[in-house]
């Protein structure tokens, strides 16, 4: 069985108090509890403070480009669906730069677990607005406040029939751990939007701000009811629900792709003797 010792990584270069620390700690606890070993999964991350995440534990890592976690993850899953693939991105990375990929990864329902470290601000580039920044938030670049409407990732996910959509909070680590585990166990595309305070650049959405507002979704809630889920997804402001907002059991893309149904692509050898038949088609 793996232990936390197996997950010792590099020294984090995050700011003291960063919401990424509890996420990192909780993620390690979750994978240890799931009995996962470092070589059994790959984290694909982008650029931003969240992009550094995989370096601070130990696992197969592809730290790629800003916004491009999902297509790289898709390529890995299609080549080897025995490999668990976790995409880690920030709100700017995934909802801004890589927005188009998110739409299509949800459509494909490819079995990628996307954890968005959503701090509602750009950290690495020092404090500009992100797609999830609240309207009227003022920054150096948005001196008149954010004029565009705040993106609602949960409403987007429900609208696109995303097979697993959950929200959690870096300040509630027992809840976060459950969401991470649920997500990893889910068969299909999964989006976990993690509310994460940025202690340096986001003076609005602080630990205190979130703590006052977040609440656990009530026990009787049915996340398979899409209409109810959409209503739940629209809740934001004085009360912010955390938990599984929506789920369905659409079959994953990998199960529907005939070529890899029985065996991962990397386990299928190359048979040169079959090429002659392809050549014959041109005679």
């Amino acid at each position: 069985m793996p232990s936390l010792d197996d997950y010792k990584g590099q020294m984090p270069a995050w700011c003291p108090g960063c919401g990424n620390f509890p996420i990192l700690k909780t993620f390690k606890d979750a994978v240890v509890e799931l009995g996962l070993e470092p070589h059994q999964f790959t984290i694909v991350s982008g650029i931003g403070q969240a992009g550094k995440f995989p370096h601070y534990l130990k696992c197969n890592t592809f730290n790629g480009l800003h916004g491009r976690t999902l297509p790289v993850s898709t390529g890995i899953r299609l080549a080897n669906h025995d490999m668990i693939v976790i995409a880690v991105a920030g709100d700017g990375d995934c909802y801004g730069e890589g927005g188009n990929h998110l739409l299509h990864a949800i459509r494909r329902n490819i079995n990628i677990k996307l954890f968005v470290h959503d701090n509602q601000v750009y950290g690495l580039t020092k404090g500009q607005a992100s797609p999830t920044s609240m309207e009227e938030m003022k920054t150096k670049v948005q001196p008149f406040g954010v004029l565009s409407e705040q993106l609602n990732p949960m409403a987007l996910a429900v609208a696109l029939d995303c097979s697993f959509a959950a929200r959690s909070f870096a300040g509630d680590i027992s809840h976060l751990k459950e969401m991470i585990k649920e997500s990893i166990k889910h068969k299909g595309f999964s989006l976990v939007d993690i509310l994460q305070p940025c202690v340096v650049f986001n003076k609005i959405n602080t630990y205190e701000w979130y703590k006052k507002r977040v609440y656990h979704i009530e026990a009787g809630y049915d996340p398979t009811n899409r209409i109810e889920a959409f209503k739940k997804a629209l809740e934001w402001g004085d009360k912010i629900p955390i938990g599984v907002i929506y789920r369905n059991n659409r079959p994953a893309f990998e199960e529907r792709m005939p070529i890899i149904k029985d065996k991962p692509l990397i386990k299928q050898g190359f048979d040169m003797s079959k090429i002659e038949a392809a050549l014959k088609g041109f005679y």
């Binding site: 730290n63 297509p71 390529g75 299609l78 692509l265 090429i275 050549l279 041109f282």
Partner: protein, 581 residues
């Protein structure tokens, strides 16, 4: 024997079906064939043509005279009447075109009426036309019947019978009524030849190299590869995924390659512009990928369905940062097949991005060949897998080595983790900021690899006189037309120039472009020539610039064509003669 057939009409009228079928009949009979297509960016209407040349000797380009014109619209007659050779004849259907033309070069063949009478369906008018062409040439019909049987097997006996009757009707009509037809068909020199175009050859080269993953966004002229790979997906175990955009296509390709399979993407200039960031990612993470880049005239959307060689500098210099890349520009479908294989091999061996740079002309032109030789295909799995990976004591994805090439392991195959990063990284793959590691990584990734890759590059092909006075130089798809120009401009009996003596004309053709092959030999040929002419399908002479950059040699003479159309033999000969004086 050397005949050209042109089929002209609107998009959607089926000119490609007639052209493909005739080309197949000729190649299966054993004639050499060269086809080229000219079409507009639209699905219906406009004006397109398909040109087929057939001979009993190898051919590799189109000529400017037509012997048989199949006119499916009025415009074909208007545009190409003057291209008809001395014995040339145009056939058309006066009832379909609602116009009757006078003159002995114009033969009215009632395609539609014969289709209804004999095939029981007006849709078979094109089949009648195909039969009529064979009737004019006096070729046997049995091979066409075989082809019809193959195509319509699933549609049932009635459809097959209808088409065969339609062919016969067209054939008989032309045989009887084309009193001015004076074509003399010789026996074919070969038994049966293979017929293949550029994109099919690239696709075939990919599957012969063990390519398991292809992701692309459709874009002319690369879509043919996407179609080919999809058609072969089931039989050859290839995952083909149409990406949401080209950025996704290259990133998926990189992901699949990182996971452990040979992977490829394809696009054209505009799509490649979007991929450029991903190209740099492949360079930094040392992930092998093959990119098929089909050029068409730009800038921007340009001429979407036409041809140009204007992306050489783009492909050589684009992407941020410095990293090695491989660029091949095949001149024929045969070269495309073998070079695609070589690109896969070198990409994986050196863990770099590799390009097959082609264009619409090569993509859509079908050529005949004997057989491709699978024994020349190289397949080495350079990845570290399974037990070989498991038994290592430790593993570093980007370990420093003498060659700069680090072990490329398949993640998940052993307990070691595989780590890579688009940031500058250490041997393990983790982010670093220090200067010392940076210097060592640049040396490993770039400086150590380039000379080794350069050693793999073949010399340009020298064709024609071995100590030429006149040298024509080109790259990529101009191979065929330059070769025919050399043939036409060479003395009828080659030994006219005695061994050791200088004289005559030759072609130097580059298909392995970058890293630029190093050799004083071709430079010597250029320096000794009285006149060396660089021939390119672009406006500025990009290859000439590359030659100067790499060798210091400066071309005094250039022939550039940038109208979006390929070179035609007679036109090129005229331009070469103008330079020779």
């Amino acid at each position: 024997m050397d005949y050209s057939i042109k089929i002209g009409g609107e998009a959607g009228q089926g000119i490609q079906t007639i052209g493909d079928t005739l080309a197949k009949v000729f190649s299966k009979t054993g004639y050499h064939v060269f086809t080229h297509q000219d079409y507009e960016s639209r699905i219906r209407g406009g004006h397109n043509f398909f040109q087929i040349r057939l001979s009993n000797k190898p051919i590799s380009a189109s000529r400017n005279k037509i012997d048989i014109l199949v006119a499916l619209d009025k415009e074909s007659i208007l545009l190409y009447k003057n291209e008809l050779s001395e014995q040339g004849i145009a056939i058309y259907d006066s009832s379909a075109l609602r116009q009757k033309y006078e003159g002995k070069k114009l033969l009215d063949v009632p395609f539609e009426t014969l289709a209804v009478e004999h095939g029981k369906d007006r849709i078979m008018a094109n089949t009648v036309a195909t039969g009529a062409v064979l009737g004019m040439l006096g070729l046997k019909l049995d091979i066409l019947f075989e082809i019809i049987n193959d195509i319509f097997r699933k549609k049932g006996e009635d459809v097959i019978k209808g088409n065969i009757n339609a062919v016969k009707a067209g054939y008989d009509f032309a045989s009887k009524n084309c009193t001015d037809c004076s074509f003399s068909i010789k026996e074919p020199a070969e038994e049966s030849l293979m017929l293949i175009n550029g994109v099919e050859a690239i696709g075939l080269g990919a599957i012969s190299s063990g390519c398991k993953f292809y992701s692309a966004y459709p874009m002319t002229p690369s879509t043919g590869i996407l179609n080919f790979m999809s058609e072969k997906a089931e039989g050859y175990g290839i995952v083909v995924e149409q990406a949401e955009d080209e950025i996704a296509a290259i990133n998926m390709t990189i992901g699949a390659s990182f996971a452990g399979v040979r992977a490829m993407t394809g696009t054209s200039g505009g799509g490649f512009a979007l991929m450029v960031e991903g190209l740099s990612l492949a360079g930094m993470t040392e992930t092998p990928v093959v990119i098929a880049l089909g050029q068409r005239p730009g800038p921007a959307t340009g001429f979407p369905t036409r041809t140009e060689q204007a992306e050489l500098m783009f492909v050589l210099h684009t992407a941020h940062g410095e990293f090695p890349r491989l660029v091949f520009a095949p001149g024929t479908p045969e070269q495309a097949f073998y070079l695609t294989n070589k690109a896969f091999d070198i990409a994986e061996r050196f863990q770099i991005p590799a390009f097959i740079l082609f264009d619409q002309y090569l993509a859509d032109s079908a050529w005949t060949f004997g057989r491709f030789d699978l024994s020349k295909i190289k397949y080495n799995d350079y990845r570290l897998r399974g037990n070989d990976f498991k038994k290592l004591g430790s593993y570093k994805r980007h370990a420093f080595t003498d060659t700069g090439v680090s072990p490329l392991a398949v993640p998940g195959d052993a307990r070691h983790v595989v780590v890579t990063d688009s940031d500058e990284h250490d041997e393990e793959g983790h982010i670093v900021e220090d200067a010392e590691t940076r210097i060592k990584m640049v040396q490993k990734r770039l400086l150590k690899k380039i000379p080794l890759i350069r050693q793999e590059m073949s010399q340009p092909i020298l064709y024609g006189a071995d100590k030429p006075d006149i040298v024509i130089v080109g790259w990529g798809s101009t191979y065929g037309v330059m070769k025919e120009a050399v043939d036409a401009l060479s003395p009828p009996r080659p030994p006219l120039i005695k061994g050791g003596q200088r004289g005559g004309i030759a072609m130097l053709h580059f298909s392995e472009i970058y890293p630029f092959p190093s050799s004083p030999k071709f430079l010597h040929i250029l320096n000794k020539a009285k006149k060396a002419i660089c021939i390119e399908n672009n406006a500025t002479g990009q290859f000439a610039r590359l030659m100067r950059e790499e060798t210091g040699y400066e071309f005094k003479y250039k022939i550039n064509k940038y109208d979006g159309r390929p070179f035609i033999i007679e036109d090129l000969i005229g331009e070469i003669n103008a330079v020779i004086g």
